[in-house]
Symmetry: C2
Subunit: 98 residues, 2 copies
């Protein structure tokens, strides 16, 4: 039926799924905007972003315009992994809605 082992644990975690979904909707998000949207603490958000970055899913751009302003975006790899993840979600929905 399904291979649930295929579910990407990096993406599947609730907080990171939130990040990935937001990043998929816009080209780029600032740290502050992500934090406001997701209502996460700095430390927690940074940690999840680092996890995603370590897996090559998100790119980090550091600028200092007035204030430091770090922004995040999906890499090609990240976008691909996310689409693949969404495909599994679609299969689950198809199975779960008779």
């Amino acid at each position: 039926m399904f291979d649930f082992e295929k579910i990407d644990k990096v993406i599947h975690e609730k907080a990171r799924l939130g990040i990935m979904t937001l990043l998929a909707t816009r080209a780029s998000w600032s740290f502050q905007d992500l934090k406001a949207q997701l209502e996460m603490s700095d430390g927690n958000l940074v940690t999840h972003l680092r996890t995603l970055h370590d897996h090559g899913y998100v790119a980090v751009t550091k600028e200092i315009i007035d204030r430091p302003q770090t922004s995040y975006s999906l890499t090609t790899k990240g976008r691909g992994a996310f689409q693949e993840y969404l495909t599994i979600l679609e299969q689950i929905i198809k199975a779960g809605r008779p």
Copy 2:
């Protein structure tokens, strides 16, 4: 945008998501069939099933036909929670596929 806090952690965990999806496709599954489909160890599977049962999501039926044969099915509550979970998945897919 989305309220990611709404994601039901009981269902969202990979292994239990597998269980719930299977239970949604058929009225009832035996322990052995679940185990074979999901390729999980006894202990691990029993634990996740107990978690789902403790939350009132699955019903347990114990019979002894030839061998002990425990079977599991979704409760009304479980079905409802799963449908709600699927609704969130749909929103994520909608956002993630432009």
